[in-house]
Assembly symmetry: C2
Homo-oligomer: 478 residues x 2
């Protein structure tokens, strides 16, 4: 018990210092290790297993919606990066430059891709000729590099893993449909698989992607009341097509520019999983994304028959869930704490008394609820129990977000909320970037999105008190 | 038919110019497109689908043998790369150097990983303390960069995709076992899934990996008689552990260095698939690795009922194989040529007459054999037909290799074979690097491996005629 306590004490409590709690958890749950390369992280087996499950689920959804995977070079020649004006302005300040290959200096610098719009456009220019070649629905899984100075595991790092979808369409309408389709794929993935409720909406012009016509986002709320942009989908219109000369011969024999989209989700979403569901004992993982859904901890494992029964259960349960057994020689209490730290949704305890009663004890990670289940019914009941945990986590997260979502009609109200009970603030906006700038300067909050589901909080802008055009979600953000 | 001919004529014949045949096929089969970045390729959807199937099969085998995936940074600080002397000498001349991040010059150059031994060692040093932490069985899927001057799609490119396994063990014996275990995983993968027979053996000291104690390889033979190193597995001994200080406290309370291995397979293997199985009509894919295993081509599809039947077949067959339908308005002959170019193992033709007879026509890609199969039996028979094709391709490849494998007792014999009928040459070797150098200089052939299965061709070295120690496979290689 002393050891158990020690392990739990090893992480800072959320309320004491949320940022330290976060970095403690990513380290103690074995998700990440710092590397010798500044700002780059090592994703450890447990963290990478999470990413693999995210990839698998997302990739299936991309393929179901007709997308194909490709792989583009990791380097972008400087001249190519510069082809779209807004885009290069947005990214050039934060790219890594390769200047030498072997012993020789390159005639043109190459940047390590911060994102691959320019490479996809250069390729589309070559492979799109006719309306028959459209749409092109491509996606890429890769790593990208942005030279960030202040970094945190998953949330902001010099290199991170992601997917980037890049599509080309015949018409503006099709591109807009695709943009929203993929935003909805992200939203349903977050809600159904990660148990993270999201707000869907459009970014303001100030916050949109460099080179985009319009940017859509899903925004989630972390336990500390800060928002996290969890996935974005951009409609490029024909801006990139104009810059790169991507044209097709339409049925009417006219040369026309394609309309494009791009959309991305990254390892950053692992940060959201941690900060939405985690607690003072560590990680809490929704069953659908948990690399291990159930861990078997034998109790009094030295007693004859206990380990045999535990292995037998493992064998049986591996047919219905992702299961592991901890037969190490550590004390059960220590094991409990370790597996709680790693957020495994269910713990199964089985000891001599349980075997006598032909039952096991199941303990839910998120609320420590105990269930006594007959061994005969276990295999049949487990899938539903895991689903119940999944649903409970979603509802818990939704309640948390609801309790941290406020409305403000004035700047004073907004400031009071941000200082006392940080969270999402719904407030009206006149549409003027000046008001966004004022809010950012005065209280370090930004417009998160103009949500699709609009409400009428008041009829005046929260900042300038002129006529309001839209309701906006505001907040401090990662 | 004129169009059909045109498409086939679009690729050079193998015998006319094998190198051009190869580049024609990779382009016309839509595997690869050249990019604007010198030496870097774009892997197109069809090529990437192949890689995804390779990944899936290999990854399953790695996990079954207890390995876990991780992700390391793509950058290596210059000082870290330099820690192991042989290793840096081997790789420094061919790495890309990042010198600037954003606007600022870096205080230390970073290379883009050409391979990640140094990063794994740096990490192992931090996470390995006790014998309880061993073995560490890690693998990474990523892209790597080597600044090659002469490049060819898949075979040699500045950037390529691969996996690199890196393991750490308590003893030299365990490391050696792991090295051979993973070589065997590669060999069985090549033979069972890719239908490529391989020679397993050890590299000579001259040909081994920079920093390795010993390197093992699987070597396959291409249609033009050149060899291709298809996968390698290295035993590092404790050389890297000494250089990086990776030590563990053993049960006997002594600090000991770990013993390490690494092993890799890359997109290069796609080049082997092309050059082992392909023919003058394009790609030929073994069913187990074919993204599409069967393509349905409706004949006289304008006749009522034909397309409906084709869709019905597609629906039914998608339960037993990876199936596509080509209902485009192209002529059947043109479609046949296109799908042959893409190497789809089976073509299913169905037209009005077939429907009348309640049958379909199946055509095998590799030998154009026609099978008439009753629609009622199709679903049940298809898996076996695909397996038959798989077996036939393996046997065909094995026969090809056998017919191109020779023995030589003298340099004259070797030279004659290489000039007239290139292929593998089995010849004896004294063990002296000078003889390897002589053979390389005189006939541009290298030692491919010292095979596990030794034969006694003669008792004298093919080069110096001194006493022979080993039989070696020699050949010109990609």
């Amino acid at each position: 018990m002393a050891k158990n306590k020690k392990l739990v004490e090893a992480i800072t409590s959320m309320n004491e210092d949320f940022a330290r709690w976060y970095t403690d958890v990513v380290k103690k749950a074995d998700l990440v290790e710092y590397s010798g390369v500044k700002g780059c992280m090592i994703i450890r087996p447990y963290g990478y297993a999470l990413w693999e499950l995210i990839q698998k689920e997302l990739d299936r959804r991309f393929k179901e919606t007709g997308h194909e995977n490709v792989y583009m070079p990791m380097f972008i020649p400087e001249s190519l990066l510069q082809k779209e004006k807004d885009h290069v302005e947005g990214f050039a300040p934060e790219v890594a430059w390769v200047t030498h290959g072997g012993e020789e200096q390159l005639t043109e610098r190459l940047c390590v891709r911060p994102t691959s719009e320019t490479l996809f456009c250069d390729h589309y220019k070559d492979i799109i000729q006719s309306y028959r070649d459209l749409p092109k629905l491509y996606n890429q899984w890769c790593s990208v590099v942005r030279w960030e100075k202040t970094t945190r595991p998953f949330l902001r790092s010099v290199e991170f893993l992601w997917q980037e979808g890049h599509t080309a369409h015949a018409t503006a309408e099709e591109a807009q449909e695709e943009t929203i389709r993929m935003l909805n794929v992200y939203a349903s993935f977050c809600e159904e698989v990660l148990a993270i409720p999201v707000i869907k909406g459009q970014k303001t012009d100030k916050e949109k992607f460099a080179g985009a016509h319009s940017t859509y986002t899903i925004e989630s709320l972390m336990h500390d009341g800060k928002a996290l942009q969890s996935g974005t989908s951009h409609n490029f219109g024909d801006g990139f097509a104009q810059a790169f000369g991507i044209q097709y011969l339409d049925k009417d024999n006219q040369l026309k520019h394609v309309h494009q989209t791009s959309w991305g989700m990254s390892t950053r979403i692992i940060g959201a999983i941690i900060m939405v569901h985690g607690d003072d004992s560590g990680l809490v993982l929704p069953p659908r994304i948990a690399p291990t859904q159930l861990v078997i901890v034998p109790v009094q494992q030295q007693v004859e028959g206990v380990l045999d029964k535990a292995y037998e259960l493992k064998e049986k349960l591996s047919k219905v869930c992702r299961v592991k057994i901890d037969d190490s020689d550590k004390m059960p209490g220590w094991k409990f704490a370790e597996h709680e730290m790693r957020g495994i949704p269910l713990r199964l305890e089985v000891g001599p008394k349980d075997i006598e009663k032909n039952q096991v004890v199941l303990v839910k990670r998120h609320n420590r609820e105990k269930l006594f289940v007959s061994m005969d019914e276990l295999e049949a009941k487990l899938p539903q129990i895991l689903e119940d945990v999944q649903t409970a986590l979603y509802e818990k997260a939704l309640n948390m977000r609801t309790s941290k979502t406020f409305t403000a009609k004035t700047m004073d109200e907004m400031e009071e909320i941000l200082n006392k009970t940080p969270g999402f603030i719904k407030a009206m906006w006149c549409g003027d970037e000046a008001c966004e700038n004022t809010i950012k300067e005065k209280m370090a909050a930004t417009s998160r999105c103009i949500p699709f589901e609009q409400e009428q909080i008041s009829d005046k802008c929260v900042c300038c008190q002129k006529d309001a055009k839209k309701m906006v979600y505001w907040g401090r953000a990662y």
